[in-house]
Symmetry: D2
Subunit: 301 residues, 4 copies
């Protein structure tokens, strides 16, 4: 890609806002950074903050960018944005950091290819903390050579990994998240059974985290969010249920046999309905608590 | 406990051998260390190696110890040892590091209490490497004050944690191991589905291990043992299936609802039958591979 | 068995009462029928109703019977009854129609064998309607020849089947009931998904019951009890959860791999906790309803 | 519909052949019956057999029919047929008896609606025996009034039930079949556990079929096909796995929570891979047998 190019960022939410800010850094070398957000004043405020080369624009204006990065709630919103755009620049690249659906990636890649534009599905992991620190993990599906051209501009990432053809990035993100759901539910079940035997969740986690059963859920999420009863909403249960369903959809689409993940998707969807989709994703454990007639509370709460 | 006391160690296998060696260290302060093993020459060789205060003995002779540590395959072997012993010393303590069954712990604790002896169920985690390094995690059920008295002698451990009443240590070990089985099978299913989408296991694990779906299985066991196709036998699949069944038995005994762990126990038992109980526990993933008609192989294999 | 013998019946509940009445019929040929119930006036009322050869007695008096039939809530109550009895008649037979636990059957069979008494585990199926009509199915574990001797006296049954060694009857009853739980939950899940697609439960069941997916739950229980929202309490959810747990315990005891039934036991136990153990067993579907945010209601309700 | 109309039947396989024959009966009142099959001589032979008003035709010729009935392996084949056809008659009706996918039904209904043709998804249940006897169950999604118009011509059915909007018929068929898969696997697991306890499958099924755990699988399929070790191929395991996957896809599409059916779909897909998709669907139990290290064989085999 030429050195002096126009970048655009679409979707300035809790993740997209800090990600866009990294693209404005001088060492990234963008001549212009265009910002679009459905609620326009968010884009205007961020543009004002980030300096002269950054402009808040209307949706059609982003069509003149050489590289467009989007970060929206689901593939549905990406689709709606695409439907409202005029023709993009031939040779441009669209990097979609949404946690989307592989089927949508393939449709959107085909659609943009007709304009000579490359679509890469590039979901991120690392949460809002990683977005702010610029240490996100990006898993990318689509053309690896095109990825290499835009790689220098993805300044919000510590790891950018090409993982396969179009849709592969979204598929991997969904599988990562269903593994997270599995750990949450399985560890919660284990803690519930142990609590009924007189083993406190604190003691159990201290030992598990020094043993072979440890996972991100046992080491971080459950002690910090569940045992404290805080359940801070940084990633919603409804979105975890959506991701688990996407993972299962991916498995079905390739006729994979995943009986354990399938149960996890069913329980996560059920938890989202019974507990509520707007709670933090760790509130999935409240389903396990209700099935066991107890609460998983830490001693130091 | 008095400073000059007699220690005994029963069961000098891959775990017990190096654990016993730590008890012989001068700073532990045992006057005598008695070693018993079913195959006697193993005890004799280790005693010769560990020096003057260490003796290989017949089973009845360990009855004169103040503190007996055992590490056997299952509670069944502990039971057989107990049945062959004369009366133990009143006030002695038995620390059973076997991955046993909570029901057996309660029976054996009651039985020894009649002789004025305290039984602690104290399974360990950390593998043969941890046993050699003396960095095992020990999770202990039973009398916490008695544990405090013997704690200085458990020189093979980095963490000794009292976790609840008699049987609680065994229950927690079983739950830890079924969580390990859950991670293995769930991650394996995810990798199988992704492989069918064109995402290599290496790429998938690199991303998952930098993301929220990571666990001990994704970070260590699968890359080191499965993707290399080595499956080195350090912990047998048949024993993992036994531990998963114990965890489920524990859940049933307290009327806990653990639908996900229940499925895991069923699949692990099935894997042990279909693949064979003497393979390494990570060979449980070969069941997932067969259900998906593929092999999870690393690129750098 | 001699023609003129003394029969006894222990436990005159919703099942036991009508079963005992069948034993009083002249063609059964008992010289005397002794009735025992914890609440004595129930036994007295039934004895008065059944005529001269029938007597309400205290618990120890049943020890003089040649054939004792018991029908109690769980093996725990059978155990308590046995503990309060003097020696039984050498050569007597105990037929336990409780839905008990196979482990208890083996313990109780051994215990009675020491008095020269044969214990048969003989749970029944058919509900209160079958008990009244005398058309119960009896599945019997233990000595087949002894069963043949007492078979003529089991006048409450249409089918008496020897199914295996001691405990086999209880094991089979538990498996039958977990299959019932499986049908209930699986059909409920299917109806919930279809309802969300706009297919009414009535239409769905009409078709399923004329097709290959039909079962006792789809043909009888769900249309009669769930779609009507009546949930009449004839068999409690807490007892179904107990039976499902026994079935899983049986599977664990023989190292069987039953991943699907294992999940069913976990969900049934969870339903019993979340909905309440004293509701009818078909109220297990209210868990499925809550996980799906809907109610399965019939059009003709 | 007018009395003298042209009927067409597409797909003369094991199901379609006998179904088409019923349409040729004089009392159905068709002026002409057009037959199309990919292998043309099958259509010619059947036409010759059925008499003067029946003609084997090329695919485009069926476009002149007033009512077209299709019965193909999957929605994919229906799609291929539609792509090769010229415009159909305005006002015609297409009744698709394939076990198809609800998504395909909606696409195909929209596509035909543009030509003024109504598409009804109308899968059948009852097997080849029901097709020959003319006693099939038909579950229909789409326009109920149009169904009423064509109902008199569906002479192969004993029950024709409108069940909901476009796609509802296919959704219900898929759910019916996953319930069948559930019964097969669950009953198989139960029989395997019982066999390991010394209860023979024959004895177990005799009792279950006189009790509350009975289902179509326990009453018909397992005794006739599994215990005899015959596994006659009338409905392939690969097609059952496909149907189970469709059912799960349906559940995902409406965000239903179906943890139990989800596990069933995963195990059925795994069985199809491990045992082979061309075996009879009841061979799914061979997966359960392998997980348990035994064979479910009848005594009277």
């Amino acid at each position: 890609m030429s050195q002096s190019l126009t970048l655009a960022f679409v979707g300035l939410g809790a993740m997209g806002g800090p990600m866009a800010a990294h693209l404005a850094a001088p060492e990234v070398g963008a001549e212009t950074l265009l910002l679009y957000n459905r609620t326009a004043n968010k884009a205007q405020a961020l543009a004002a903050e980030l300096g002269a080369r950054v402009q808040a624009v209307s949706l059609p204006e982003i069509a003149r960018a050489d590289l467009i990065v989007s970060c929206l709630p689901t593939s549905q919103e990406v689709s709606e944005v695409l439907a409202q755009l005029p023709s993009l620049k031939r040779g441009a690249v669209w990097v979609d950091c949404t946690s989307g659906h592989p089927d949508a990636a393939r449709v959107q890649a085909d659609q943009l290819a007709q304009q000579g534009v490359t679509f890469l599905d590039a979901p991120v992991s690392g949460g809002t903390a990683g977005a702010q620190a610029g240490t996100l993990t990006v898993m990318v599906g689509g053309d690896a050579q095109v990825l290499d051209r835009v790689r220098p501009y993805l300044a919000f990432a510590a790891l950018v990994r090409h993982v396969g053809p179009s849709g592969a990035g979204f598929a991997l993100k969904a599988v990562n998240n269903i593994l997270l759901a599995t750990q949450l539910l399985a560890t919660g079940e284990g803690l519930a059974a142990l609590a009924r035997c007189g083993v406190s969740p604190d003691a159990a986690l201290e030992v598990i985290n020094a043993s072979s059963g440890r996972s991100n859920a046992s080491q971080n999420l459950i002690p910090q969010r569940v045992l404290t009863r805080e359940f801070p909403v940084t990633f919603k249960l409804g979105l975890l249920a959506k991701d688990a369903d996407i993972a299962l959809d991916v498995a079905l689409s390739v006729q994979a046999s995943t009986p354990l993940l399938a149960q996890v998707a069913g329980l996560t969807r059920g938890a989202s309905r019974l507990i509520g989709p707007d709670h933090d994703h760790t509130a999935a454990l409240q389903l396990i608590e209700q099935l066991n007639g107890l609460e998983l509370t830490g001693e130091r709460r």
